[in-house]
């Protein structure tokens, strides 16, 4: 078909055929692989960014948790210190009480022992005194008997002589 300005429909179609081949070829050979690589790289870096973000988030969480722990540790330490103080005080009281009790016991025992010793000594002393008195009485008695006897003998002897 001949048109003005040398326009030829067949040549237009040939140009279109040429352009279609170019379009398909460029798409499959060049555009698609390059675009695929660019997309995969974008995906790769997006993934890396996400990982980095999640790591940062995790780090922040850990930091927060650590700070919370520090705070709770402080309060825990205070509570424990308080409990320990109370326990120490109670233990001290207990020890003092026990010591006092023990001291009282020791004192009591000592007193008892001293009392019993005292009693024993007194008893012994009494017994000894009684013995001494006994002995002394006995001696006195016995001595007086001897003296009388001697006097009698002496007197009888004297009389005999006199006679």
């Amino acid at each position: 078909m001949k048109l003005p300005l040398n326009i030829d429909v067949q040549q237009i179609l040939l140009h279109l055929f040429n352009f279609a081949i170019l379009f398909a070829g460029m798409y499959f050979i060049l555009y698609k692989p390059v675009r695929k690589f660019m997309d995969s790289r974008e995906e790769h870096f997006k993934k890396l960014e996400e990982e980095a973000n999640s790591l940062v988030e995790e780090g922040e969480k850990a930091k927060e948790e650590y700070e919370n722990r520090l705070k709770s540790a402080d309060s825990e330490i205070n509570a424990k210190r308080e409990v320990a103080g109370k326990e120490t005080f109670a233990e001290r009281e207990r020890i003092i009480t026990a010591a006092n009790e023990e001291a009282a016991n020791i004192l009591k025992k000592a007193r008892d022992k001293a009392q019993s010793e005292h009693d024993r000594i007194i008893n012994d002393a009494q017994k000894e005194i009684a013995q001494i008195v006994n002995d002394a009485t006995e001696k006195i008695v016995l001595r007086s008997d001897l003296d009388t006897y001697d006097q009698f003998i002496n007197a009888s002897k004297k009389e005999e002589i006199d006679e």
Binding site: L5, N6, I7, D8, Q10, Q11, I12, L14, H15, L16, N18, F19, I21, L22, F23, G25, M26, Y27, I29, L30, Y31, P33, V34, R35, F37, M38, R41, H44
Partner: protein, 287 residues
């Protein structure tokens, strides 16, 4: 570079230039008559009525179509080489060539997303291929590859889109692409939205044709006269060609992007606010 080396290089360059000028003057034949007038050259550059090239003996076609095939061949060969030797060696941190390729592929991402935020993947592909074709096709003009026309005269292959048939193809394909995209995304509404801009393919085709042809015509004019065909083409040929290759690729891709955005724009249905008729009693109570 040492001073001595600079002086030697400058002397060699000056000798070559002087030699060329002497050659031009000595080979000038004052009796020679131009075979074609400038009018004929210009007319043929626009219409290609006489200088046709045989397409494998099947049909006589404009040189622009042959240029189109060569450009496609060059681009696909380049793509295959890149696919085989470069893409498998791509690294996460790109080298220079990888960076150029990635920049070229991702060049239209921003424009496509900006103009059509909800649907842009196909658009950016179309922009990439069409933009590359226009740019490489226009730069192809710089090579000045010559083929033998059916009349036996050599003809220089220009940009594929400086052929009116190529420009019409690009304009109509773009329009068809917009129509189909509008139909797929917004059904009939999108289709008719694009259809009402029926002047779009004509304007796109003629603008492309005119813009690319003007570059070719200026170059033809410069080369027609012997004395302007030395030195001046460096500025006219290369700078102008590169400039309008960039500008035309940019303009077409921008236009496609804007029209595509309009065609595939998702219209949210507005909920109608029902007007509640108030009773007279309620009105009087409010008063």
């Amino acid at each position: 570079m040492s001073k001595k080396r600079i002086i030697i290089s400058a002397v060699i360059f000056a000798v070559i230039i002087i030699g060329l000028l002497v050659g031009i003057i000595l080979t000038n034949d004052p009796n020679k008559v131009q075979e074609e007038t400038i009018q004929e050259v210009m007319q043929d550059a626009v219409l290609h009525e006489h200088l046709k090239v045989s397409l494998f003996g099947l049909k006589d076609v404009n040189p622009g179509l042959i240029a189109g095939f060569i450009v496609t061949g060059v681009m696909l060969t380049f793509a295959i080489i890149v696919r085989i030797f470069v893409i498998p060696r791509f690294k996460l941190i790109p080298g220079k060539f990888q960076l150029i390729l990635e920049t070229a592929v991702g060049l239209f991402d921003g424009t496509a997303k900006g103009n059509s935020p909800h649907k842009y993947k196909l658009l950016r592909l179309y922009m990439f291929v069409a933009g590359s074709y226009i740019f490489v096709g226009t730069c192809f003009e710089l090579l000045g590859i010559q083929v033998i026309s059916t009349s036996g005269k050599p003809v220089t292959l220009g940009a594929p889109l400086s052929d009116i048939n190529g420009a019409i193809m690009m304009g109509c394909t773009t329009y068809l692409f917009l129509l189909i995209s509008g139909l797929v995304v917004n059904k009939a509404k999108g289709f008719f939205g694009v259809l009402k801009d029926f002047s779009l393919p004509i304007s796109m085709s003629l603008r492309l044709f005119g813009a690319l042809l003007s570059g070719a015509l200026v170059t033809e004019l410069v080369y027609y006269t012997k004395y302007t065909s030395y030195g001046l083409p460096v500025l006219i040929g290369i700078a102008f060609t590169l400039l309008h290759a960039l500008v035309q690729a940019y303009v077409l891709t921008m236009l496609v992007s804007i029209f595509y955005g309009e065609a595939t724009e998702v219209h949210e249905k507005k909920e109608k606010v029902k007007k509640v008729k108030k009773n007279k009693k309620e009105l009087s109570s409010e008063v």
